[in-house]
């Protein structure tokens, strides 16, 4: 037990001199996490310091995670907006708007031809301007 204390005491001196390696610091932290209150008063400062650092690390981790998630959401939002805009544009360019006409037995999806055929068909059943107002006159 005393040997362990002596070893820890040496490590602490090394730590306070700024000379400890990463592994040695790991060892010190582990010691203080498990040590409880039965330690010299002089060592309690280190226990408090390591406790403080553990809390700070957890906070830093939380920040990078939420920060990363926020950035991810931003990118996802931009990406989905681009996709939503791109789809109708692409469809319009291909002319695959779902409208089609059957000409000479063949299905034709070219929007220009479909549109003009549709207009021609509509003209055949359309009433002329004058007819509309004449119809109004018939209402009593």
């Amino acid at each position: 037990m005393n040997k362990d204390r002596k070893y820890i005491e040496n490590l602490i001196e090394k730590y306070l001199d700024g000379d400890t390696s990463n592994n040695e610091e790991k060892l010190l932290r582990r010691y203080f996490t498990n040590s409880g209150n039965d330690i010299p008063d002089e060592w309690k400062a280190l226990r408090a310091l390591f406790g403080y650092e553990t809390v700070q690390r957890k906070n830093a981790l939380r920040n990078t995670r939420t920060g990363a998630i926020r950035i991810y959401i931003r990118y996802a939002a931009v990406a989905s907006a681009v996709i939503l805009i791109a789809i109708p544009i692409m469809m319009h360019r291909n002319g695959t708007s779902g409208n089609y006409a059957v000409i000479d037995g063949k299905v034709c999806t070219d929007s220009r031809i479909v549109t003009s055929e549709a207009e021609k068909a509509l003209m055949m059943v359309a009433i002329g301007e004058d007819e509309t107002f004449e119809a109004l006159g018939q209402i009593q």
Binding site: L16, N22, K44, A45, E53, R57, A60
Partner: protein, 206 residues
Amino acid sequence: MSQNRVSNVYTTRTENNIPQNGMTSVKAQFSHRSYRNMNIEQFNRNIVTMRNELMATAIRLSGNSETAEDLVQEVMLKLWSMHGELDRHTCPKALALTILRNKFYDGRRHARHEMTVTHVQQDHGKEDTTVETADEIDVIRRIMDSLPPLQSQILRMKEIDGYDKEEIMKITGCTPESLRQNLSRARRRIKEEFMRITAYNAMNRD
């Protein structure tokens, strides 16, 4: 000097996974090591090369090579904290000199204040160790806030952000001895202030 590096693995953790021992949680937190290494190398090549000129200006301003060294390291740390945006600046050297001058004049304006004894509220109704621990941590926080900025930044980078000594040296351009000194000063000061404050509190307990 072969130091074993903490192997950093980027993992996702659930809340249930918080380990009892605070150390292992460190591994999950840092951005991927090799990416950060590449940035440090780049940073070191581009920025640390202007160190001589910065030192010259710092010595001229402060008249003292120790203060100048501290100032230059602080400038490097500040530049590192914004290293993602450095390409937007057409002249990083002008930026560095501006930061240097600002830090120098800030330092003069606010004289380093000695830590006044703070009375830390301690609830003695229950002799509960968890309450005591939270108070202890609060004392540390206040001491950290009162440390000279370079010392607290370097300690934070080493122990909270998990940088290696080699990485800190590459970022600040400092010598191993300078880094050792700053870590040592910070740690000893924390220990001394902590003991002073807790002794004061013990004396004034009702």
